[in-house]
């Protein structure tokens, strides 16, 4: 009798076990070095992209020069809207940075294996995004060359900044964040630069790498202190990343302006920051993966896991949006209710709907495993998220200022070419640094990727074969063999 016919089983991928990441397409440590070092040779496409980024930066420089000459009026500020594109972009870029620290530090503490191959690019993104964000408060100053007055230092004027001001908290938070994330980035790079030093043939580059590697020798003593220091830096960076965007949110929440004065702001901002940053990680990592042919390293499983994180943070952000409306509705405060009605149906309705659709509706597509594993969709979605998150900050800043308590205070806002050019310039500045980074330094953490590659064994080698690309890896019994990253 013929066996009963069964419906063919739907193709299913396993859920990604977080701490148990495997790279079946990578055979050994040497291949990791070869594949990552291969990304360092400049190509014509790279020069073209770098040229474009520098051109965009030049547009920004031209606009800023004009603004310094003409005064801040050139930037389209119209009372009562005295915070415009610069503050919107400041919050946007600080937010972009947050996902890098989430991936490099928080997911490290949580033992999330999928971070291993994407964290270096994400951490670089953090450093460059914070460098970009830091420019905007300076651009927003009438006399930008006096920006250092915000730092408390002994001076002949005998004047000190007010430590109760959110703007001073910002200075401490952003400078600490920039310093700590740059330090974390560089410390993680030291063993990888040592690999470049040892593999490089060009004497000038070898010398530069030798200086940057600080004489790192991969000795047990170095690794012992390195893994400890790395763990403590991750432990510091974790509360730091939560504090930084909380402090940025205080810039708004400490004011009495409708739509801003809410206790929900710190968690709302942190979730939004991480969401926007993950969007930017996809925007960056998907082309890198394809262009450098690193599909066997940044696996589709890694992207799937990151997409789940994106979906989760999108839902947190969506919940925050809805909660804001609910709080306004239940507050009984007519000004607050009027403001939130105006947000979605008033003069800035289009910005609010861009925000809601890009950040709340479109990411729901990631409930589908098929779409989570579709890199083209992830890339397209990431662009929508970037746009949506920029508009989220626009919706926070502009409608509140243009629609305060009294109708006679209400006004409009029209950004000028200076605002747009500086915004374009900020993308140019960010991508210029990022493009320089991906061709000069390893875009993937070589030593950490090696941690997830099974080491060569003399005794257990019998019967073992290296897996070819795409083959499903079975858990290997390797006795006491385990990588030593972090906690001991």
């Amino acid at each position: 009798m013929a066996p009963p016919r069964r419906a063919p089983e739907r193709e299913r991928y396993p859920n990604i076990p977080t701490a148990d990441n495997r790279l079946p397409g990578v055979r050994d440590y040497e291949q990791v070095d070869r594949d990552v070092i291969a990304t360092l040779s400049p190509t014509l496409g790279w020069f073209a992209a770098l040229g474009l980024a520098i051109l965009a930066l030049l547009l920004g420089i031209v606009a800023w020069t004009y603004q310094i000459y003409e005064g801040l009026g050139a930037a389209g500020y119209q009372p009562p809207v005295m915070w415009g594109v610069y503050i919107v972009s400041f919050v946007f870029w600080v937010g972009i940075g947050h996902a890098g620290t989430l991936i490099s530090a928080i997911l490290y503490l949580f033992r999330a294996g999928f971070r291993t191959t994407i964290y270096r690019a994400a951490e670089a993104m953090t450093v460059f995004a914070v460098m970009t964000a830091g420019l905007f408060p300076i651009l927003h100053l009438g006399r930008p060359w006096k920006f250092f007055w915000l730092i408390p230092y002994p001076n002949w004027r005998l004047i000190w900044p007010n430590p109760k001001s959110p703007l001073v908290w910002d200075v401490f938070a952003i400078l600490t964040y920039l310093t700590v994330s740059a330090t974390f980035f560089y410390v993680g790079l030291i063993p990888d630069i040592a690999v470049l030093r040892d593999q490089e043939r060009n004497p000038i580059r070898k010398r530069i790498f030798a200086v940057l590697a600080l004489g790192w020798r991969n000795s047990d003593r170095e690794w012992r202190h390195f893994t400890r220091a790395y763990l403590f830096l991750a432990a510091f960076a974790t509360p730091l990343v939560l504090s930084v965007h909380s402090v940025v949110s205080f810039d708004f929440a400490m004011a009495l302006t409708p739509g801003w004065h809410a206790t929900i702001f710190p968690p709302y901002f942190v979730a939004g920051a991480i969401f926007s940053g993950i969007g930017m990680v996809f925007t960056i990592i998907i082309p890198i993966r394809k262009y450098f042919k690193l599909e066997h390293m940044v696996t589709i499983n890694d992207l799937d896991a990151a997409a789940k994180l994106c979906l989760f943070t999108s839902m947190v952000v969506g919940l925050a949006y809805i909660t804001e409306f609910q709080v306004a509705w239940m507050s009984g405060n007519a000004v607050e209710q009027e403001y939130f009605w105006n947000r979605v149906f008033g003069q800035w309705w289009w910005a609010a709907w861009i925000m809601l659709i890009c950040n709340m509706v479109l990411p729901l597509s990631l409930f589908s495993q098929k779409l989570r594993r579709n890199t083209s969709w992830l890339f397209i979605l990431s662009i929508f998220i970037n746009i949506g998150m920029w508009f989220e900050r626009f919706v926070i800043v502009i409608p509140s200022l243009s629609h305060e308590f009294e109708p006679w205070q209400w006004g409009g806002y029209h950004p000028t070419w200076v605002d747009y050019f500086i915004l374009i310039g900020s993308f140019g500045w960010f991508f210029m640094w990022f493009l320089l980074f991906i061709r000069q330094l390893p875009v993937m953490a070589i030593s950490e990727v090696k941690e997830i590659i099974p080491p060569k064994l003399r005794h257990a080698a019998v019967g073992h074969h290296h897996l070819t690309h795409g083959e499903v890896a079975e858990p290997r019994v390797t006795g006491t063999i385990r990588p030593a990253g972090g906690t001991h």
Partner: protein, 166 residues
Amino acid sequence: MQGVLGAFAEIDATVEAIQDLRKKNFGDITVYTPTPRHELEDALDAPKSGVRRFTLIGGLLGVTFGYWVAIWISDYWPLVVGGKPVASWIPYTIIGFELMVLFGSLSTVFGMFALSRIPRLTMTVGYDPRFSHGDYGIWVVAGADRVAEATDVLRRHGALEVRNER
């Protein structure tokens, strides 16, 4: 410094060689590995890293300085509002926290550098570029009378290459 350097392709062979060398009372052993592995640490039985002390001291100094500078500024240039105290610890916690993270992180890195003895200007003896690539290395400090014994141990455990250096 005189000693023997052995390069190994496999981790289990490296671990066995370390254990054997320690059994034979070779005290000063340095192991090179392209990525940190627990089994090498276990074989060496090295003490815990002291980086944590730097982290603690840096963090405590940072938080103290953060509160202190904010309180000092408030007292130096008092902005009295509604008769409330000029120094308010709640907002100053932000400055205290940020400086704790800043000083704590920087002193952690300083501690790591100091304890690992980097930056190092010269590579000295007992290193090979292959140790950052894929192979493991063992550098044993041995006087002229024990060089032969150390070489023998490394060879017996399957070293790809053994060489004397000074």
